[in-house]
Symmetry: C2
Subunit: 197 residues, 2 copies
DNA sequence: TTTATTTTAGTACAATCGTACAAAAAAATC
DNA sequence: GATTTTTTTGTACGATTGTACTAAAATAAA
């Protein structure tokens, strides 16, 4: 991949993120993205096989950024209790610090790209996201620090924590001036209490 | 409104719900809905001012059905603790019993109809949905049965409960054979513990 | 400098969709 | 039964979108 190729792809992806975050997925046509990037529509088609590839790139880069942010912070913790706290804290911090990218991905996921339009709420992806939480919970049970969780009750707990985080993201979209710190403290409290022995 | 008018509107709304729930919002064109209802596209235009009015009708009917299901069940409870339990239980039961309608509304809300395509996550609507939960929490604090909640920490708790319910709905979409009873029990447990004094 | 390759611009095309509309059919009214 | 109103059908139109394509421009190679 040439220098220009890489630079253009990066520029286009960046511009697509901004466009989707600002005007929403529906209005984010290739023409609109090109207009904002001040390039011709044909340039996008030249550097990306199709629109789907461009949008997928947004999601891919997002998950890489997310994982590089979250993983090391959790691994730095010793007790499951601290790991759960840091998981919540770092997720909310990541969202608050990368609003445009997060909002764009939410648009893409909720509007179900890659799919043929059918209902398909990215079943497999969600599993991968749940695993780290389930691991923390299992560890906490194993060490006798959390209350008893069966495999399936741990799954419900993991889903609930994930939903709380994703729900915070939505709330932040609605209320950009939200007090992130306070929201974080409350969520940590809620799930600290509800996992306690 | 004539008899035919009412019947046709009901039929079209019903068919639109089925279509959206089955093939997703993107594929649910007026042509597709008409085809499934075995009527001409023009009939829909005749009975509804535009597509937006048809889709709004789906949401309106949904909230009426939801409210008539939930409200009396909560009012039948005496203690805030029981009210919270019943709120969660009846919400999950309602979702499980009205999957198609719920899925259709989720499609509409997540794809943001009525809006001009811009990001606008129905801010006002969510407020109304949160109020009953916040009331239950306030009552529980007042009666000394729940732990201390400030106005804003009660709001976070209410949001978290709502997100848990909405997240359950998404999970049910992904996994139709989900054990609803068990999921319900777990959620009740989680929020019983985390509101306890 | 000349030639070859990559990159860009701009246009054209096919497909899709919501809506408008005219004529036919059905139902209601007298 | 005739007439008026309501309802339905089917088609056409304008707008939008992603993609294909051609020619021009820019860059790299010779």
């Amino acid at each position: 991949m040439s220098f220009i190729e890489k630079a253009r792809r990066a520029q286009i992806v960046e511009c697509a993120i901004e466009t989707i975050a600002e005007v929403g997925y529906t209005q984010a046509s290739l023409g609109e993205i090109a207009k904002r990037a001040k390039i011709s529509k044909g340039v996008i088609s030249y550097h990306f096989a199709n629109k789907e590839e461009l949008l997928e790139q947004i999601t891919i880069e997002y998950y890489i950024a997310w994982q590089s942010y979250i993983a090391p912070r959790i691994e730095a913790q010793k007790s499951p209790k601290e790991m759960l706290r840091v998981y919540i804290e770092s997720n909310l911090a990541f969202v608050a610090e990368n609003r445009q990218h997060v909002f764009a991905v939410i648009e893409l996921v909720s509007k179900n790209i890659t799919a043929d339009g059918k209902l398909q709420f990215s079943a497999d992806h969600d599993e991968a996201v749940l695993v780290p939480i389930e691991n923390i919970l299992a560890l906490g049970v194993q060490e006798g620090l959390f209350r008893k969780f069966t495999k399936s009750s741990a799954r419900v707990m993991a889903l609930t924590i994930r939903n709380a985080i994703d729900g915070f993201t939505m709330e932040l979209m609605r209320k950009p001036h939200l007090d992130v710190q306070e929201y974080t403290r409350e969520l940590v409290t809620i799930f600290d209490i509800s996992t306690k022995k």
